[in-house]
């Protein structure tokens, strides 16, 4: 192996061969693919909303409850960036506090979503009851699954922090988790508008 190749290999392992952090680049590419994933589901929902209007089922949606849930998810994005700021300040206790709060807020959001699903099922709106039910539960269900994965990721990040991980110079793990969580938040901002407000 030539000297030049060895230098390139080391540069690659350091995560700087592209002039970009490789983990962050990978996460952004994943986020880009997720945009397409949710884009397909959103396009399907919009198609049915425009071509097969469901005023009765739409009237059953509890906009106030979901608005509060939206606020909870927005707050969880705020706690993630505050946690990252703490990690950048070498304040591990602060990081752990905000990661724990993020996981808690994510769980509360999920509880609100389960409550909404149960209420709709009791009203007869189910996954197979109508086109609205199918597109609504598929779209919001997949988002909820992403939140659930995010809560698990927040707890895993918290567990690493508890074991002494992350510092002023090594906090990329928190940043990568944050990118995922904020993306899930952005998806919800869009869903809240197209499902509940428009």
């Amino acid at each position: 192996m030539s000297v030049q190749n060895t230098a390139q290999d080391e540069h690659f392992r350091a995560g700087k061969a592209l002039g970009l952090d490789h983990l962050k680049l990978g996460m952004w590419l994943f986020v880009g693919s997720e945009v397409m994933f949710f884009g397909g589901l959103i396009a399907a929902f919009l198609h049915y909303k425009v071509n097969t209007p469901s005023p009765v089922e739409t009237a059953l949606l509890d906009v106030t409850l979901v608005g509060i849930n939206t606020f909870i998810l927005l707050t969880s994005s705020f706690t993630v960036v505050l946690g990252l700021a703490r990690a950048q300040n070498d304040d591990r206790a602060g990081l752990m506090r905000f990661l724990g709060l993020t996981a808690l807020l994510g769980t509360v959001f999920l509880a609100g979503q389960v409550y909404e699903f149960v209420a709709l099922y009791q009203e007869g709106v189910t996954l197979s009851s109508s086109v609205f039910g199918s597109s609504f539960f598929t779209l919001t269900g997949f988002h909820g699954l992403h939140v659930l994965i995010g809560v698990g990721w927040a707890l895993a990040t918290l567990a690493k922090a508890v074991r002494g991980g992350y510092s002023r110079d090594d906090h990329i793990g928190v940043e990568i988790f944050g990118l995922y969580w904020h993306f899930v938040d952005i998806v919800w901002i869009v869903l809240f508008t197209i499902i509940y407000l428009i």
Binding site: W28, I42, A43, T64, S77, L82, A85, F183, I186, I189
Partner: protein
């Protein structure tokens, strides 16, 4: 050097707080608009909701996901699929 880095971090936290209040305020306005019976046409309300939604998404992406200060390449990775999605949505709406 250490001092200037600390000032930058304080400014970042201040920006995070301001963005949070802006997001909360926009959400509150959206809820009020959807629950109050104002003399606004449905199309005007829908336009307002879309503008508010885009505003919130841009705030989160720019400040919380650091696209405002990070390498521009990350922005392109994010924006290109979003632009495609908007084109698809537009096609559905005008069809």
């Amino acid at each position: 050097m250490e001092g200037s880095s600390s000032v930058t971090k304080k400014k970042s936290v201040r920006a995070y707080v301001l963005v949070f209040f802006a997001l909360a305020l926009i959400t509150l306005i959206e809820l009020l608009l959807s629950s109050m019976s104002l003399n606004l046409t449905r199309s005007l309300l829908n336009t307002l909701f879309v503008v508010f939604s885009l505003g919130k998404a841009v705030l989160v992406a720019a400040f919380y996901m650091h696209l405002r200060s990070d390498n521009r390449f990350y922005t392109y990775i994010f924006i290109i699929p979003v632009a495609l999605l908007l084109v698809f949505a537009l096609l559905v709406i005008i069809r």
